[in-house]
Amino acid sequence: MPIAVKTCSSLGEAAAALSTDRGARFLAGGTLVMRAVNEGDLAVSTIVRATDSAFSEIRSAGARIAIGAGATMAQILAHRELDFLHPVARLIGGPAVRSAATVGGNLFAPSPYGDFAAALLALDATVSLQGGYGAREAPLEECLASRERSGGLVASVSLNRPASPGAFRFRKVSRVRPKGISVLSIAAHLPLSGGRATGARVAYGAMAPTPIRAKAVERALEGRTLDTAGIASALAVAAEGTNPATDAIASAWYRREVLAVHLRRLLLNEPER
């Protein structure tokens, strides 16, 4: 079935086009939408694109960095101030995927994809949502939770640099090296105060239908040292709130079973094996 392609010069125009057409999908890098189109997904009747250059800009002001939702993984890797996100972006696809896949698109990637979104979640990112009539700011967590029914268009993602270079950690667990789909991924921002964790943020990818915060783990880490004794209670609640899928990569049982092992390695900063 032929598909209508609407090319919009502004995000507002694109958001309006999306809100008036149930069969409209927003196309950024194409890694999700063009897959559906190639498969003959009849739910896609219109492709909406935006040519606004601000959509893919990365802007930093002090500690705060705003990443346009259309910025690609390759752009992240080329941006020196986003060095803390380089290990995450490097684990997403091969070079040809990274020159197309966008930050905004990753927020809508179905599980077990969406490792970058998990990293952004651990960094307490907020998203700017563009509607037909204006923009509003929302926590990323809220945006992810409502992503299946959300009408808005993500214009950009904003976050603060990690408290220190070592405070942000990320692990992607896959069966195939160097490129494999996630069994699961874990991202954590672990600011320390007097050697103890304070305001820890831990997020999982592929452990629920969308990337999620591991709030029980965050609470259990508060005021603790990041050593074997200090993290014991956090490991005990590692799987709380998770709802992983069984798919071709791993079973739900396996994902739950190995989660605490990988969380322990991340919290103790053990080398990857």
Binding site: V5, R35, V37, V44, P95, A96
Partner: protein
């Protein structure tokens, strides 16, 4: 529904093709331009056989909307040769037995070209990373990696765009 005209540069030559709404770049190149070097493998952006360079960057043409390359420069494996002279990468693939059935080869060549254009002396790990999105099911990756490293050390071809 009417077709949409798309103009772009294909291996250094300006071309114009008509595409259906939602058509991908691979279809535009194979059926519109008539260049069958990039192959259709998975149609999902997973296998890498449709890899082309868009403005010098590697892209998967099967998941690229054809209309999105309007006015841009697209390179395929068909454009690597210079008259009767093969590109150093093509020669190295031949000499190092890096193509058995040959189906992954056009994608491998373009992924390797994208690497060597930016990094003329890559390490083995960098070559592995560069072809990390390209699947080969028969040759095996070792001869391909060796061929890319050999083309890199052979040198002169790197200067030819």
């Amino acid at each position: 529904m009417s077709k949409t005209p798309v103009q772009f540069r294909h291996n250094g030559v300006d071309v114009a093709v008509f595409v259906d709404g939602g058509a991908n770049l691979l279809t535009a190149i194979r059926e519109g331009v008539g260049d069958t070097a990039p192959k259709f493998g998975c149609g999902q952006g997973t296998c890498g056989v449709c890899t082309v360079l868009i403005d010098g960057e590697p892209h998967l043409s099967c998941i690229t909307l054809a209309e999105a390359v309007a006015g841009r420069s697209v390179e395929t494996a068909d454009g690597l040769k210079n008259g009767p002279d093969l590109h150093p990468l093509q020669r190295a693939f031949m000499e190092h037995f890096a193509a058995q059935c040959g189906f992954c080869t056009p994608g491998m060549l373009m992924a390797a070209k994208a690497l060597l254009d930016k990094n003329p002396a890559p390490s083995r790990a960098e070559v592995v990373e560069a072809i990390g999105g390209n699947i080969c099911r028969c040759t095996g990756y070792e001869p391909i990696i060796n061929a890319v490293l050999a083309a890199a050390s052979a040198g002169p071809g790197r200067q030819r765009a």
